[in-house]
């Protein structure tokens, strides 16, 4: 075997496997945050490989905003069954019902999912949560460590992160504190699709071009569905679209696209002039530091 038969994608995979194994070896009660989005799908795929032929030695955790794409929830449930996984759900609708959080006037559950996430971590005594976030997604994420320390309020302190040298990860925490771990830190959106392609991984159908009723709002194409209806002056149109990211269905926009295969998605991703969050996420548009502020409160 020569060095050249090992691609940069293989190197990213090897790095991610190493990180996932460090989490399980160092931490007492880790969990894998699984949303059914493409990044968490790749992360799960890698975590399964890291421990094969043994079972995944940690549960999946999903923070369910209740604003879901049905295709994504179906996918989640199928994967859980296929690999015989444990799924822990932190439900935002339940939390609203029991008065733990209050629905925001604009109907977005982006902010109120953070307390639910932290509550689920605390109730299950998780000391590490792995997520599929990537540094190329957003400027605050670009600053975050692979092993990202959270205090006992779940807060991230970007001014005081632990140094992180070589591939030595410090997972030591006191009771109540935890670590968020991002094994895909060094992957780009294009790497994710190249990996999905080369490893033949199935993704929810909403990532592929399909016809959908959409309307135009703030420069983005929103799906018309039970959570999101056009306002005065916004018109429903039937368009061929796909999703680049999957988040809260009230906030996540589709992009116009004919890419109905992974190959075509790769070609489109390589040529795009907009970042995935810039093109599709209402939640980052609130202010210049929207992501940083949410992360300080405990968001992933």
């Amino acid at each position: 075997m020569t060095a050249t038969s090992f691609s940069q994608l293989d190197a990213l995979e090897a790095e991610a496997i190493h990180i996932v194994r460090e989490v399980v070896a160092q931490m007492e009660r880790p969990a894998l945050l699984f949303s059914g989005g493409k990044d968490s799908i790749v992360l799960l795929h890698i975590a399964l490989k890291a421990f094969a032929p043994a079972r995944l030695p940690m549960p999946l955790m999903h923070v369910d905003t209740g604003h879901n794409f049905p295709e994504v929830i179906d996918y989640r449930d199928r994967v859980v069954e296929q690999y015989d996984l444990n799924l822990v759900v932190g439900s935002v609708p339940d939390a609203i019902e029991r008065g733990f959080v209050r629905e925001e006037p604009n109907g977005s559950r982006n902010r109120i999912q953070t307390p639910v996430l932290l509550d689920t971590i605390e109730k299950n005594k998780f000391d590490a949560c792995m997520g599929g976030a990537r540094r190329d997604e957003e400027k605050a994420r670009a600053k975050e460590r692979v092993f990202s320390f959270r205090d006992d309020f779940g807060q991230w302190d970007p001014r005081n992160q632990r140094p992180e040298l070589w591939s030595l990860y410090n997972g030591r925490v006191h009771q109540g504190e935890s670590i968020r771990v991002f094994p895909l830190s060094n992957w780009t959106e294009l790497d994710i699709w190249d990996y999905i392609n080369s490893r033949g991984i199935e993704v929810p159908s909403i990532y592929m071009a399909h016809e959908r009723d959409v309307f135009h709002r703030d420069g983005m194409w929103m799906a018309a569905n039970e959570f999101c209806q056009p306002r005065e002056g916004e018109m429903i149109e039937r368009r061929t679209v796909r999703y680049r990211t999957v988040g809260d269905a009230t906030l996540t926009a589709a992009v116009l696209s004919d890419a109905d295969t992974v190959d075509k998605i790769i070609a489109e991703t390589a040529a795009t002039r907009l970042t995935e969050r810039g093109a599709t996420r209402g939640d980052d548009r609130v202010s210049e530091a929207a992501m940083e502020d949410r992360k300080k409160e405990g968001y992933f």
């Binding site: 075997m1 090897a14 496997i17 460090e22 001014r159 970042t275």
Partner: protein, 415 residues
């Protein structure tokens, strides 16, 4: 396609973030929405021009103060290479974050402001880059627009740097005069400095020969985790999971597990895509051995005739990264490959004066950002190699046992 990881270094305000912004902008690696956001943020701050440093200075506090606080990682590719950039802070207070970014770099760009010349912080960063054995160094003499594009000034700074670097281990040095702000010699060659015969920074990044730094000689496989499926049909499966630190491991090889010294043969190598005949760095694999020998996390699998001697005495150069100084007698956690142990500081041999590289022998402590040579006694034997031979088995971090913070980084040195 191969991958080049590089980091910026140098004093505060020498133009590191501006340079990265310019590099991304001129190589058309910026997305439209990112540029729009940076333009809007520059306007809101009353900057006359688009402040490209905002492409990496993404934290609120960084933008308020106009400095970099922590490393930003950026990713881009050209038809020749894929790049991972670590834009590090110049401010001395955040040296720990510079070290974080430089520890994995193949190349460091050390910026020097052409007006100011070398500062203590430029010397500190050059010393740290050399200590971390970053194989390629670029000296970027920046802000040439402010010194009238003077060849003489460039030569002065180049001489100042090489005189200093002569006392360090700098295997490959390239010097480029530039203006990060205006883009001269960043992606495109400067028309303002016809006296400079070399290529642009981008040309260098695309072509620098990164002869594999990987050590393929000495087999070192630190065991991360033991895989036992606990299922009837896989009752006897016992796999040792880890990432190959160095060397090439083949099925059938006779191997030794350390520190026990027990030997066996490699029965199988399981990779992420299925069984493999051989594994080399940086592959993450699972090894199965022919015999049932005792191996657990922290142990290292080597070849029989080529292995480190387990030792509890560690001689190392360290960079101290905590305001609470390192003193003789202090106890710390130590993480070396996959082995966590405790260490006691036996002796501080010297502190390095980063201005003169003089070894100050009469020191009783190493303060924040100090670089020095120490002796540690460790609770469990470690399997150390010289950092010069092996970046993985030659490095470790020190952890404060009360706060759990990472407070020191060490490299093992023979000399």
């Amino acid at each position: 396609m191969d991958l080049l990881r590089f980091a910026t270094a140098g004093s505060v305000d020498d133009g590191k973030s501006t340079l990265i912004g310019r590099l991304l902008y001129d190589s058309k690696s910026i997305f439209e929405d990112q540029l729009d956001a940076v333009e809007a943020a520059s306007k809101a701050r009353g900057t006359e021009y688009t402040d490209l440093a905002l492409l990496t200075d993404g934290l609120r506090a960084e933008r308020e103060q106009g400095i970099t606080i922590d490393v930003a990682y950026r990713y881009f590719a050209t038809p020749k290479r894929k790049f991972i950039i670590a834009d590090t802070p110049g401010h001395q207070q955040y040296t720990r974050n510079m070290v974080t970014g430089a520890s994995t770099a193949d190349l460091a760009i050390i910026l020097v402001d052409a007006r100011k010349g070398m500062t203590e912080q430029s010397r500190r960063h050059a010393t740290l880059s050399s200590l971390l054995r970053v194989p390629h160094i670029v000296l970027a003499v920046n802000k040439m627009d402010l010194v009238g594009w003077s060849e003489e000034r460039f030569n002065e700074i180049y001489a100042e740097f090489t005189e200093f670097a002569a006392k360090l281990d700098v295997p490959d040095l390239t010097a480029i005069p530039m203006s990060a702000l205006l883009g001269d010699n960043v992606v495109d060659r400067s028309v303002n400095m016809p006296w400079y015969g070399g290529g642009s920074l981008m040309h260098h990044l695309e072509h620098v020969h990164i002869a594999s730094d990987r050590n393929l000689q000495d087999v070192r496989f630190p065991v991360q985790y033991v895989i036992r499926p606990m299922r009837n049909e896989l009752h006897d499966y016992r796999g040792f999971a880890g990432q190959v630190a160095s060397g090439i491991i083949k099925v059938g090889d006779e191997v030794m597990a350390l520190p026990s010294g027990m030997t066996s043969r490699v029965a199988a190598i399981d990779g992420p895509g299925g069984p493999l005949e051989a594994a080399q760095p940086p592959m993450s694999v699972t090894l199965r051995l022919e015999d049932e020998i005792d191996v657990s996390r922290g142990d290292v699998i080597c070849r029989v005739g080529n292995h480190p001697e387990p030792t509890q005495d560690v001689d190392a150069t360290i960079c101290w990264m905590d305001s609470d100084a390192l003193t003789v007698g202090r106890k710390l956690g130590i993480l070396h490959t996959t082995r966590m142990a405790r260490a006691m500081v036996k002796d501080i041999a010297y502190e390095l004066d980063v201005n003169t590289l003089h070894r100050e022998k009469d020191v009783t402590e190493l303060g924040l950002n100090a670089i020095g040579r120490v002796k540690l006694r460790v609770t469990t034997p470690l399997l150390l190699d010289d950092y010069a031979d092996n970046r993985t088995t030659g490095s470790f971090i020190l952890i404060d046992e009360a706060t759990n913070r990472t407070v020191g980084a060490g490299v093992v040195r023979e000399h």
